[in-house]
């Protein structure tokens, strides 16, 4: 071994240091406005989170094609992965808040992430629009920085219960949830209304996210012979529940919320087992909207098939861009007041107007069903 101290690394470190210094200097000089986007881009929810990233990317790319949003500034999208993890979501929110160039955030996907992050955005006076978090409690915290462009579970749950009772004719249900802010909240709302309609809840059980074997639970469900199994949770666990209940010869219909509405569900549960599975979705069928046709074409050209929340994050990003444009200045407070002003933003989902709590007034719930290995729009309820 050579005992002499090596000199090369010192030079290297110096050079690297100065390179970064110079690069950082360059970045400062280019005036940018940033829109943050945060959702899970890795982990079990990545396939859904990426539909949010892609939608926002498309919106920002199109806005830049149409010229500058605020004269002299370039618009840039800054993605941060929240990994479907509340701690990471809060970290992401803190990063956005501490970067003065960020004027608004599209995010997050999961209610369990959106809720703690919303506090950070509120404290940092930064506007946040969630394209997908449906827990009704989030908008009841009195944060004027929080906005949401999808329907909530206090609408989705009751609508799902009505659909189950009236259209599916189900009188008995077994409810399963994943104990998260979203899953438990949705299941609670469903249960309340289903019972008030005269339906019978045969039992309710929680499961753990990431678990794989639900056969013990389903074996317990089988002798109760429910007409319907309602699941409040997300598609990775839902696909296993569906597959394993079919393997155990349980013939009950399966209904879930927007969390299970994803193409991956069919793949993971196998097309045969997922045939006939129902899901409610917090919005309308994007394929049927004439004003969304151009969006669908552009999206498919760039990223492939349109995902669950692509249209929502596209609209959310566009609303932020519009608010920044009308604010006309580099000012977070003015962006918030533009969103709060009660004006109507027109997007591909139709007109969006935020109420006192920041929730959209354009609330639609539709039902989808798996048919021949594909999600098919059944009706809007």
């Amino acid at each position: 071994m050579n005992p002499k101290p090596k000199k090369v690394p010192v030079t290297l470190v110096t050079v690297t240091f100065f390179t970064f210094f110079i690069l950082a200097g360059c970045q400062e000089k280019e005036p940018v406005i940033k829109i943050g986007v945060s959702a899970p881009f890795t982990g079990d929810q990545a396939s859904v989170g990426l539909t949010i990233l892609n939608g926002a990317q498309l919106a920002v790319a199109q806005a830049n094609e149409h010229g500058e949003v605020i004269p002299g500034y370039k618009l840039k999208l800054t993605p941060i992965d929240d990994q479907h993890n509340p701690t990471q979501a809060v970290t992401a929110a803190k990063k956005f808040v501490s970067d003065p160039a960020v004027l608004g955030v599209v995010g997050h996907l999961n209610s369990s992430c959106t809720k703690p992050a919303s506090q950070v955005y509120f404290d940092g006076r930064l506007a946040q629009i969630t394209p997908a978090s449906t827990n009704p409690g989030i908008s009841k915290q009195g944060f004027d920085t929080f906005f949401r462009i999808c329907a909530t579970d206090d609408l989705q749950g009751p609508k799902a219960a009505g659909f189950a009772f009236n259209e599916l004719g189900a009188r008995s249900v077994f409810i399963i949830d994943d104990k998260t802010t979203y899953g438990k909240g949705l299941a609670d709302e469903f249960q309340k209304v289903f019972e008030s309609m005269g339906g019978k809840v045969l039992g309710r059980q929680g499961i753990t996210q990431g678990d794989k074997d639900f056969t013990p639970l389903l074996t317990r469900v089988r002798p109760l012979a429910p007409e319907l199994i309602f699941y409040g949770g997300l598609f990775p666990e839902a696909s296993l529940l569906i597959k394993q209940s079919r393997d155990l010869n349980i013939s009950a219909s399966f209904l879930g919320g927007d969390g299970i509405y994803d193409v991956t569900l069919i793949q993971l549960a196998t097309p045969a087992a997922s045939e006939g599975v129902y899901a409610t979705m917090i919005g309308t069928d994007i394929q049927s909207l004439p004003q969304a046709r151009r969006f669908v074409e552009a999206y498919e050209k760039k990223f492939g098939p349109v995902g669950s929340y692509s249209a929502y994050s596209f609209d959310a990003a566009n609303i932020l861009i519009e608010a920044i444009r009308s604010a006309g200045a580099f000012d977070r407070e003015r962006v918030i007041s533009r969103l709060k002003s009660g004006r109507t933003f027109s997007g591909i989902l139709g007109p969006t107007e935020f109420d006192q709590d920041g929730d959209t007034k354009n609330k639609i719930i539709s039902v989808f069903r798996v048919k021949n290995g594909k999600w098919e729009h059944v009706r809007t309820i």
Binding site: D44, Q205, T208, D213, T215, P216, T219, R220, K243, D247
Partner: protein, 303 residues
């Protein structure tokens, strides 16, 4: 009663997979007194190798049962062989250089290997759940209230076959006797002419191969596989090994089945919310009241 039978089948199926993984923990502990915490990841890598083999050869779903069995044999053999090689590589790279250091050092090294494997798989295959093709046809046998799938029968038969094979290998062959000798005393074994390093490599190879078999069966049973699936399964299999008495081969087999049953019956009759708790409550109780495990740490027999 029929329900109970169904819960037994559910528990046995996953228990058999835990047992396959537990064997690797117990065998490695037997020869070098190391808890190989990277073993759960070898199980996960085995599943991914199985998936790669399926895509590489283009094994189609919906083939007849004889063809499906042939596919299964090919997948299991390749996955077991390659994961075995991975096991040897892990030993050579991460454990052998520190063989004579305190045990804690090797334990930390094992945890490091576990991170490396998880992240490598994530980078290669992506962070999302991968769907595992349904190689074994989805056939169900219904006896009154009890349902048994063909996949469950395959899992139970294959794991039983591998366990019997291993038992025979350790108890009845020359190599097995050498393994038992190494487990008793490295120095003494070397003195009587046993190639100790070779035996250690062989043990890693067999143990990792068994885990890979478990991984492939796990992937096929649940139809999905994810890069972090090795963690929890590995931890439960470790519990199974401790339950049976670490270092004891029949103990690991019994421990695996018992953990599977405890989980199945606990989740089925008490609450599914607490499913993961049952296995670990057992671990705590065992460590408190019978640290040598149910079957005791039969030092003379460990291998």
């Amino acid at each position: 009663m029929e329900l109970f039978l169904q819960q037994l089948i559910n528990g046995m199926t996953i228990g058999a997979i835990y047992a396959l993984i537990a064997l690797g923990y117990t065998m490695v502990y037997g020869v070098i007194q190391l808890i190989n915490f990277a073993h759960g990841e070898v199980f996960m890598v085995g599943a991914y190798i199985g998936l790669t083999v399926i895509t590489f050869f283009g094994f189609a779903t919906g083939a007849g049962f004889p063809a499906a069995l042939f596919y299964l044999a090919v997948i299991l053999l390749i996955a077991a062989f390659l994961s075995g090689a991975l096991g040897i590589f892990i030993d050579q790279a991460a454990y052998r250089p520190i063989r004579n250091s305190p045990r804690l050092v090797a334990l930390i090294s094992a945890i490091g290997v576990s991170f490396v494997l998880q992240n490598t798989v994530m980078l290669i295959f992506g962070p999302m759940d991968k769907s595992f093709p349904e190689i074994i046809p989805p056939v169900k046998f219904i006896f009154g209230e009890v349902t048994l799938t063909l996949m469950q029968i395959v899992i139970l038969t294959v794991s039983l076959a591998f366990m019997v094979l291993l038992y025979w290998l350790v108890e009845k062959t020359q190599t097995g006797r050498a393994m038992r000798a190494v487990a008793q005393d490295h120095k003494m074994a070397r003195l009587v002419g046993i190639h100790v390093d070779g035996i250690i490599r062989f043990t890693f190879w067999i143990g990792s191969g068994m885990a890979a078999v478990g991984g492939v069966l796990f992937g096929m049973y649940y139809h999905t596989i994810n890069f972090h699936d090795g963690y929890l399964a590995g931890l439960k299999a470790f519990t199974a090994a401790v339950l049976g008495g670490i270092g004891n081969i029949p103990g690991a087999m019994a421990g695996g089945i018992l953990i599977g049953l405890a989980e199945g019956l606990g989740a089925g009759y008490i609450s599914s919310e607490w499913k993961n708790v049952f296995a670990f409550v057992i671990l705590v109780l065992i460590l408190l009241f019978k640290p040598t495990g149910l079957f005791g740490e039969r030092v003379a027999d460990r291998a």
